[in-house]
């Protein structure tokens, strides 16, 4: 875990409000694992005050790539940074996905959930896994990096709410269809919480070990404030709160308290 000033290598808008940011950060890139995140200062002053967490979208050759949506002031500031400017970041933070090799995997992304799953897909392929990537969005304009995903040698399954591309309906329904005739050794998902809850139910019903990446509002990002908790269940079924920033953001679906 490091705190450093990373230089912006490239900042590319790939949709009306979607950006790819490439940062030169060799110390973080060298140890980053899929599912981990970085915590960035978005501005120079005291407002906005807190850092912003963003998943590591890809990592290699001394660089980190982030994939993010411009949502509010922090990400808007980030989108205005140009090559050569410096961004203050902490990372790599959190626990990533469990990596396996030589298996059959399902990756299920809802909207921005694609951000951490891209890195996972690439490493999973390098480890000799067969990867089916299920990618859902509201409409075709919400689907990004399709070519880059296909270049990884994965099988891509697309779903949109309005049917403007691929299967019409939720991405979890598309995965459910595949689950009928296909066996998966493991499954991974990131996306809106209701989609993750549906994913968890399907994984449990098909007895597929599965992990999700969760989001919570964060202050420190390194476990000091206890602000980012989510409810989990321990082995005896007792509910407790765990930090998303250090205990996660990746959790086993069986441990997550989906009802809140």
């Amino acid at each position: 875990m490091q705190k450093l000033e990373a230089e912006v290598v490239a900042s590319i808008r790939i949709g009306p409000d979607i950006c790819l940011l490439r940062l030169k950060a060799p110390a973080i890139a060298a140890t980053a694992r899929p599912g981990q995140f970085v915590h960035l200062r978005c501005g120079e002053g005291l407002d906005p005050l807190l850092r912003r967490p963003l998943s590591i979208h890809d990592s290699g050759d001394g660089e980190l790539t982030l994939f993010y949506q411009v949502k509010g002031r922090g990400t808007a500031w980030l989108s205005r940074q140009h090559p050569g400017s410096k961004v203050d970041l902490l990372g790599p933070l959190g626990r990533g996905f469990t990596l396996v090799s030589g298996r059959r995997l399902a990756l299920v992304a809802g909207g921005l959930g694609m951000a951490p799953l891209f890195f996972l897909a690439r490493q999973a392929r390098e480890l000799g896994n067969e990867v089916d990537f299920f990618y859902g969005a509201r409409n075709s304009r919400g689907l990004h990096r399709l070519e880059a995903l296909e270049d990884l040698g994965i099988r891509l399954f697309i779903a949109t709410d309005d049917g403007s591309a691929g299967f019409r309906g939720p991405v979890t329904a598309l995965w459910e269809k595949q689950l009928k005739d296909n066996h998966y050794d493991r499954a991974y998902a990131c996306g809106p919480r209701p989609a993750l809850a549906a994913f968890a139910r399907l994984a449990a019903a098909a007895a597929v070990p599965a992990e999700v990446s969760l989001e919570e509002r964060m202050a420190c990002g390194f476990g000091a404030c206890r602000g980012c908790v989510t409810a989990l269940r321990d082995s005896r079924g007792e509910k407790y709160y765990e930090n998303v920033c250090t205990g996660g953001p990746v959790f086993d679906v069986a441990a997550v308290c989906w009802e809140g």
């Binding site: 200062r41 005050l49 202050a219 404030c225 602000g227 989510t230 509910k239």
Partner: protein
């Protein structure tokens, strides 16, 4: 040396061996390891360059006046990757309760203009786990260790004080009677002068350690509370805890925090905190630790001028884990710039 006296029962040799082992483990991270030898050979002496940073809180000696604020520092280990814990004026841990406390449901945080609203609800693993799993780690460092406590009843405060006093390696107790985020205890004890005095007297009766009482700003006149706990025997005061606050999400029309209200901290509260410190420092004889919105050395210096003998950095450390080190270095630089030899010359030196 001061510290050896402050840690009865700790065998320095044995401890140094532990430090050595730990130093190796950290060698690759390029950080915290550097100060591990500071017991015998200080590498970055705070008293160097002709400037004295040592301050006295009653019987408690701090190598410099800057400490972390309880609840924003975890149990120290969270900050170890970013800084050398041996450089701090004191180590201050998250509030400990007798039983494990689960805390409030999420969302617990909301950013506000230059501020942070939180409703953690004193989540902590409880006294037993603290003594068994957190204290041995904290004992390895040289700065005095201050343990913050909260009870649901006056008796619980007393029991916590007694049991912590029996443990090795604790330099002082900070009594939290000011948490706005718990229903039982906390704020009730902090807003009624008679209750604040009873908690203070009970804790004093159960410990030989210096007792610091942490006050809330959510009262009509904080000096009344300050005098009440001074009269009850407090050795020092910490102020301020967070201000009660609220935020609403316009999309959902729901409160931004699951607990509806929370405690506001960060730069947004600095003027309120500074004013409280100034008023209380003039109203009592015991030393005051000032906190609330300190981000830079300049903020800290304002608190010292207003009468604080030491300061704490809270929210700023969550944003910049090295903030506390920058504050210490900045105070030293200011003293040198001003041609001052001793930080104590600044305490209460406000010109009016």
């Amino acid at each position: 040396m001061e510290q050896a006296e402050k840690r009865p029962g700790v065998n320095p040799k044995e401890e140094d061996e532990k430090l050595g082992a730990r130093g190796k483990g950290l060698a690759g991270t390029g950080c915290a390891g550097s100060g591990l030898k500071s017991r015998s050979t200080p590498q970055e002496p705070e008293t160097g360059a002709g400037v004295n940073l040592e301050v006295q809180l009653g019987d408690l000696t701090l190598p410099n006046p800057v400490m972390p604020a309880s609840g924003t520092f975890g149990f120290g280990e969270e900050y170890a990757p970013f800084l050398d814990l041996n450089r701090l004026g004191a180590l201050v841990v998250k509030t400990i309760t007798l039983e494990p406390t689960p805390g409030n449901p999420p969302p617990r945080l909301m950013e506000t203009p230059s501020g942070l609203l939180n409703s953690i609800g004193l989540q902590n693993p409880g006294l037993e786990v603290f003594l068994r799993e957190k204290l041995p780690y904290l004992r390895r460092f040289t700065p005095p260790l201050i343990v913050n406590i909260a009870g649901r009843t006056v008796e619980e405060y007393g029991e916590l004080a007694a049991r912590l006093s029996a443990a090795e390696g604790i330099a002082a107790l900070e009594v939290n009677i000011s948490c706005p985020n718990v229903r039982e205890g906390g704020i009730v004890f902090g807003t009624v002068p008679e209750m604040a005095a009873r908690v203070t007297a009970t804790v004093k009766g159960q410990t030989h350690l210096p007792v610091i009482v942490k006050l809330t700003p959510n009262v009509t006149d904080i000096t009344v509370l300050a005098r009440a706990v001074e009269d009850a025997g407090a050795d020092a005061l910490s102020l301020i805890n967070t201000l009660q606050g609220m935020a609403i999400d316009l999309e959902t029309r729901r409160p931004a925090l699951a607990n509806i209200v929370g405690g506001l901290s960060g730069p947004a509260i600095k003027p309120v905190a500074l004013c409280a410190v100034w008023r209380v420092a003039r109203a009592v004889k015991i030393p005051v630790i000032g906190m609330g919105g300190i981000v830079t050395a300049r903020d800290a210096l304002e608190f010292l001028l207003a009468g604080a003998r030491a300061v704490a950095v809270g929210t700023a450390g969550l944003v910049n884990p090295r903030a506390i080190i920058e504050v210490i270095d900045g105070i030293k630089a200011y003293l040198q710039e001003q041609g001052l030899q001793d930080v104590n010359e600044l305490v209460g030196a406000l010109r009016i």
